[in-house]
């Protein structure tokens, strides 16, 4: 396999895995949010924010994939001729956000569900409720950071 395949595999897995995690997270949070809105439609905006919180991992995956693709020239046409080693480097650099994105989005989704419960019962505690999912997100951000730094520092 030539390097470009590995590079593309890295970009793809960043989008696929992180996106899958976010889809699950936003999904479960959305179910809980819908339940709250049936009881009290005025809480729509608050629970919508809660639902969106686990959605960021998918965006982080997209971000890393985009940087990786533009790095190897797949976006502008005329892909660079990568060695196997460089391709593998890019693949590995994409892994943090791919894997951490997947797992953290799932857990963030569950935390969001619990926080939506807080909003349903005590809407004035919105600020605190929002904090719990944001704590989980930290690790996705750390992974994103390493992925970005690693991808952008690889010499093509």
């Amino acid at each position: 396999m030539s390097g470009i395949v590995w590079a593309l595999l890295g970009a793809a897995s960043a989008v696929i895995l992180a996106g899958m995690g976010s889809a699950y997270g936003v999904g479960v949070a959305g179910q809980a949010a819908a339940g709250v809105v049936t009881e009290d439609p005025s809480k729509f905006a608050k629970v919508l924010i809660m639902q969106l919180l686990p959605g960021t991992q998918g965006i982080y995956g997209l971000l890393v994939a985009f940087i990786a693709l533009s790095k190897v020239g797949l976006l502008g046409g005329g892909a660079a001729d990568l060695t196997l080693e460089t391709g593998l480097l890019i693949f590995v650099a994409c892994l943090p956000i791919a894997l951490v994105g997947l797992v953290s989005a799932i857990h963030q989704g569950r935390t969001s569900v619990a926080s939506i419960g807080i909003v349903a019962k005590k809407p004035e505690q919105f600020g605190k409720a929002m904090l719990f999912p944001a704590m989980v997100e930290t690790y996705a951000i750390l992974a994103l950071l390493i992925s970005i730094l690693a991808v952008s520092s690889i010499q093509v």
Binding site: L52, L63, G127, I141, L142, L149
Partner: protein, 672 residues
Amino acid sequence: MAVLQMQRLSICAMKKNRKAILEELQSLGVMEIDTTMPLDPDLAVMDTMESRQTFEKSALLCDQALEVLQEYAPEKTSMFSSLEGKKLVDKTSYEEASEHREAVLKKARKLISRKKRLTENKAAIVKLETQIETLTPWLSLDVPLNYNGTKKVAMIIGSISGDTSLDQVYQRLAQDAPDLEAFDIQKISADGDQLCIAAACLREDAAKLEEALRMQGFARPSQSIRKVPAEEKNHLESEIRHFVKENQDLEEKIRDMADSRERLRLVSDYFRARAQKYEILGHVPQSKQTFFITGYLPKKKVPALEKLLNEKFDLVVEAEDAEGDEVPIVLQNGRFAGAAEGVLASFGLPHWGEMDPSKVMAAFYVFLFGLMLSDAAYGLIVFVACAVLLKKFPRMSEGMSKSIRLFMYCGLSTLFWGIMFGGYFGDLINVVSRTFFGHEVGIRPVWFAPLENPMKLLIYSMLFGLIHLFVGLGMKGYMAIKAKKYLDFFCDVILWYMMLIGLLIMLIPSDLFVSISQMNIVFPPIVNTLGKVLAIAGAVGILLMSGRANKNPALRIALGAYDLYNITGWLSDILSYSRLLALGLATGVIASVVNQMGSMVGNSVFGVIVFILVFIVGHVFNIAINLLGAYVHTCRLQYVEFFGKFYEGGGKAFEPFKANTKYVDIKEETKI
């Protein structure tokens, strides 16, 4: 940056004035009545439960009437109606409405009874419609459904369930009752589920025929109607028309009452305020001739209140500085710091004796928010949108106006950082000039482009974080000094500063830092030595002093060692600020993705249209998702990292006794 000094006010006055005084206090809305005081055994409280409930019911009645009006004569509301806030009504029209409260209540009752009548009519219409439906198969029958026949001939009318035909009925009759001969069966209708028939036979055979038919599943119609079905249908239809007409009239009448909406609102609020007054009244201890009210209010408002009350009533007022955890907290800040009060309140107001960090927090909030969003165009959009909202809806609720003001400042900060980092809708200018005009131009960042040098921004993010945290530690020190706890100030603040600064001086020239930052900073040897001395002195000091509350020397050292372990907490706190870089990059990169997708069709008319569509959808999405991200993570940095250093919160919010209205705000003539 101020928590207002509160005073505890006790009022003692004549019982005959109690309602007037309470009304006065309610309309001023400056004092929180303390209802938690234990009752003196010589005093009694009045049971106001019943009258309170009457008032609440009246308020509810008006609310229901308003709902009815809203259903049949909906008021046009704009998308931003939730921002408009309550309407300001002057006192005279409020008083005028409350004088006519009985008339208004009558109207409300009328509205509700009309609504009830409407609902009943609707149910009646549905019932009539089902009757018509069951009648439909019989429409071609020209005798009444319960027609029994003539003297000699019996008529049997009914239906046979199941998908059967007249021929089959005849055949089975021939089998089941071969001796029956003189009869005739006519089909009225058939629809696959049932066959409706009318059978005629001699009266003496009637029972036999019916019995034979029953074996095939024959049944008489469930409703006995004395009229010919077609006539009955006409009759039912005219009844429906009658109900529909009545409903139209009713709706018209309800719509005609739409002009009493304003009155209903005022009266609803009037009763609500009265119910609240009676609730407080139920907590006011009284003797035979006098009564007592105690409560809290800001110190600076005490003299004015005292003067006002003394002018109007005979009473004794006593004020003392309030202390303790049950004292409610009032913050007073300028326009800028006040904007962050909402963010502070959602973490928790300062507890009694703690300082109000709003001002410092507001500055950092705006700074960090801008750094995370960091796009000049987005910042401008946020700023303009918030400014327009503030201008257009001056009466929006206080909390809402505070948060929008905060976002307005954040928009400015975002604009600033966008210019520093060269982000204008991401790389919009480059992409547009390259795709549609052939040669690429762009605005260079004033400082540097984060995507080209992420390590640099990472280092700066952590530097900003370090400043933020040091300020937090400084606040802790400030509070310790204010409370005259100088030993705490030295041990918990100065020693930590010493150790952390010492460690930093040791870290900066090290290979690790050089390789990360690509900055080779060399200190003179004296500074290096100073760093080591500071770090060691600080560490030893913390080891010895942290457990100073403990007499046991071994335990004291152990606690000190445990406190020293907090250095890892500092490390993770500072690393947490790397989100500034990550979120900043996210905005820029997603914006570039949007621009790139838009430009893929190329330079043509169609290409321009696609570009504009993608531009609008993509950037709206990006602003929304990154605003959310910046909001959440700025809050997190404030709540977890910054407040973790010094702030506890948990104060009780000040809830003055006032008319908590639902629809209107009443403009008070006297204000203090």
